[in-house]
């Protein structure tokens, strides 16, 4: 009996992609733990997987929030916003996903920068969480600013508090932390001391606003982009984005890029290219169920 047969289980039984655990973290935000030993052994902060919930599903990229090599599992956090993320939010413990592949994209460059400020908005907090962990382990002084529309939508506050040297919580309506945008807190922090690096993940308008704030102060800023993808391996060019006037593929050249070099307007337009079809399939879903 070859031992490798056991780990590389029969793909048709899809043991590999079993949902081991599922938790609701906030309104419409769920955390799923997926069995995926190869990805778990390799994934580093900043990398992502491309998954399909069902055979007839679409391929979507999601950041690997945690990878546990010993358990052979990865943690993904997803906000049920589009059709496929809604489908994923509906999976239950014991279900199997149809496809999970990774780890894709370049990992975050982790080293001792000195002072690092991480900015996470909404479900983007899930994406800065592994970077915060890795940056802290590398000996950085880590400050995080996390924000959401309201308290009901805030995730990972306790986890972030445990890792970071200092944590600022912001909410649009003031129901948790301070009332205001993450960029306001960032501006205040930059007035006190300029960090070596700012790392931001969140909705595109938030990342663009962060880029503007840090550009004024000349602070190097990285963002992790959530461009639409199909294969996630450089084959299709769906995720292309203009960076410093050059065409880059988010999947193989990114997903992280220097924030001040990104053509945000183009990316926002490209990311809404299927907005009408998305609405249509979601409406059908509400009418006929999943």
């Amino acid at each position: 009996m070859n031992t490798w047969c056991v780990i590389r289980s029969d793909p048709e039984s899809r043991e590999d992609m079993k949902v081991l655990d599922k938790k609701v973290l906030a309104e419409n935000i769920v955390q799923v733990t997926i069995q995926s030993p190869y990805i778990a052994a390799k994934a580093k902060a900043g990398q992502f997987v491309v998954l399909m919930v069902k055979e007839e599903g679409e391929r979507i990229p999601l950041t690997v929030v945690q990878a546990d090599a010993s358990k052979g599992s990865i943690v993904l956090i997803v906000q049920a916003s589009g059709f496929t993320t809604k489908l994923l939010a509906h999976v239950n413990k014991g279900d199997s996903l149809y496809s999970v592949v990774g780890p894709l994209g370049h990992p975050t460059e982790i080293k001792k920068y000195g002072k690092v400020i991480l900015v996470g908005g909404g479900v983007g907090i899930a994406e800065i969480y592994p970077v915060a962990q890795a940056m802290k382990e590398a000996g950085n002084d880590v400050t995080a600013i996390i924000g959401s529309r309201s308290k009901a939508l805030l995730i990972l506050e306790q986890e972030m508090r445990l890792i970071c040297d200092s944590l600022v919580v912001m909410s649009d309506d003031g129901s948790c932390g301070r009332k205001g945008f993450v960029t306001e807190a960032l501006q205040e922090l930059l007035k006190k001391e300029l960090p070596a690096l700012v790392y931001a993940v969140g909705p595109l308008p938030m990342m663009r606003a962060v880029a503007q704030v840090t550009k004024e102060r000349g602070v190097r800023t990285l963002v992790s982009l959530n461009a639409l993808m199909v294969d996630g391996t450089g084959m299709c060019g769906c995720c292309r984005v203009s960076v410093a006037g050059k065409v880059k593929f988010s999947c193989v050249d990114g997903p992280e890029f220097q924030a001040d070099e990104i053509d945000w307007q183009e990316l926002m337009k490209r990311n809404s290219v299927y907005a009408d079809k998305e609405k249509h399939i979601c409406r059908l879903n509400n009418l006929y169920g999943v």
Partner: protein, 457 residues
């Protein structure tokens, strides 16, 4: 033409017999030299004449593992049919009078498939203890896997996507290569004991070194061509401008033509422009016109190419089919700029007229822009089909693998062995953008070399 059913009907037995009867069985058959893998065309057609289809099948399988596939997708008019004695001297493509070798091959391939004719295992027991990893399940990978498995070697095929077949599945549309033909060949490999691991990217999930550490004695790289090229003109990132790879993958692999039953969307335009002159451009145009039909849109799909139809690298048959299906051809057109609206969607294409100048390095006459000839046409969806570059996912993490300036893996052309010990390669990752049959030819050569390599371990 709303659907994706195969468009060319295959030969019935009577048709095959009639076509075979036209073959004069030349004493010195030139057709064989036109086949990249050297199928003994004269002999297999001879067997058809005698109605011995089993023998015809065996003859083809000696050189070609996938006759059903090659019979459908081979550019025969540039290869065996062009070399046929019935093709007039000096013709750029096969004459109509040349024997329809590819149709006969398809007839025999399908006969073998339906009759369950399987090339028998000539397994050398001595090799059965070896495991070989085949990276990629496209034409090269599948062919190599089959060759090795038939020699009794344990083979695992690693595929990055969720389905096998590589370009045969995501690239070539089902109206050209029905999925049951492809699935048949893949199931045959499974029956031969080949293990297939989908969702597994070598270079990401495991490195080549880790495969060796895992007990594989040799590795074959059939990575394929990967990264789509773009034109590099202004406006190319506007919405509804697709690479051919993306457009075809969405439809062929993800069934976007069946949205919302399948969840992957694809947009379709009222005025589609496909840029390029190869088979991929023809596939994209023919997919686009089907989507227009299916969407109740008046068909308006144009192929824009810098040279003329004569220089188009596409198969003549595909060009004819595209025309029959209503695709318009705009020749001697060089795109200059895509123009969009406020929402970021493309609305128009600005282009220049060209004329043909002196031949370039490829031997084809170079397109030269006619000064002051700029014009704009309506274009609310564009597909860029101007070629592919090497995918560096694996080579970038494997410094021992020597690559050329294009990022292709360099090999010893006799053995297809790379600069890394025990690692062989074939298909588009070696030769750039070749054909299915060329990829198979390389894979066969590599498989033979792998068997020799294992025998010396």
């Amino acid at each position: 033409m709303k659907d994706f059913e195969e468009v060319i009907m295959g030969y019935l037995e009577q048709d095959a017999l009639e076509e075979a009867s036209r073959c004069i069985q030349c004493k010195n058959p030139t057709c064989i030299g036109g086949c990249p893998v050297g199928i003994d065309i004269k002999t297999f057609i001879g067997w058809i004449k005698k109605k011995n289809y089993d023998a015809a099948y065996a003859t083809i399988r000696e050189k070609n593992n996938f006759p059903s596939i090659c019979g459908r997708v081979c550019p025969a008019e540039y290869q065996c049919r062009k070399a046929c004695v019935f093709t007039k001297k000096g013709e750029p493509f096969a004459s109509h009078e040349s024997i329809n070798i590819n149709f006969l091959e398809r007839f025999i391939g399908d006969y073998g498939a339906h009759g369950g004719l399987i090339a028998t295992m000539a397994g050398a027991a001595r090799l059965a203890r070896y495991k070989v990893a085949v990276v990629g399940s496209g034409p090269a990978g599948l062919c190599c896997a089959g060759e090795l498995a038939r020699s009794g070697i344990q083979v695992t095929v690693f595929e990055g996507l969720h389905k096998t077949g590589g370009v045969l599945r995501y690239g070539i549309p089902s109206f050209r290569l029905p999925r049951d033909v492809l699935d048949f060949e893949i199931n045959l490999l499974k029956k031969l004991g080949v293990e297939i691991q989908t969702n597994f990217i070598v270079g990401k999930a495991q490195t080549i070194e880790e495969l060796f550490a895992d007990g594989y004695s040799a590795v074959f790289l059939g990575l394929g061509a990967g990264i789509p090229s773009f034109l590099g003109i202004p406006g190319e990132n506007l919405c509804n401008i697709y690479s051919a790879n993306e457009f075809l993958t969405r439809v062929n692999l993800m069934s976007a033509n069946d949205f919302p039953k399948h969840h992957t969307p694809v947009n379709i335009g009222k005025h589609v422009v496909v840029i390029g002159g190869g088979n991929t451009a023809m596939d994209a145009a023919r997919v686009a016109i089907r989507l227009q039909h299916a969407g109740g849109i008046a068909p308006d799909t144009t192929v824009a190419y810098r040279r003329t139809e004569l220089e188009m690298p596409a198969r003549r048959l595909e060009i004819e089919h595209a025309k029959e299906e209503g695709v318009t051809f705009a020749m001697l057109v060089k795109p200059e700029e895509f123009i969009g609206d406020d929402t970021g969607f493309v609305t128009r294409l600005r282009a220049s007229r060209c004329e043909l100048g002196e031949p370039d390095a490829s031997g084809r006459r170079r397109p030269v822009v006619v000064p002051g000839s700029t014009f704009t046409i309506e274009c609310d969806l564009a597909v860029i089909a101007v070629g592919l570059g090497a995918n560096r996912i694996l080579t970038s993490v494997t410094p021992q693998l020597e690559t050329d300036k294009y990022g292709d893996v360099t090999v010893n052309p006799e053995t297809m062995e790379t600069s890394m010990k025990g690692v062989f390669a074939g298909g588009d990752i070696v030769g750039g953008e070749g054909t299915v049959i060329e990829a198979m030819g390389m894979a066969k050569k590599a498989a033979a070399a792998i068997i020799v390599y294992l025998s010396h371990l």
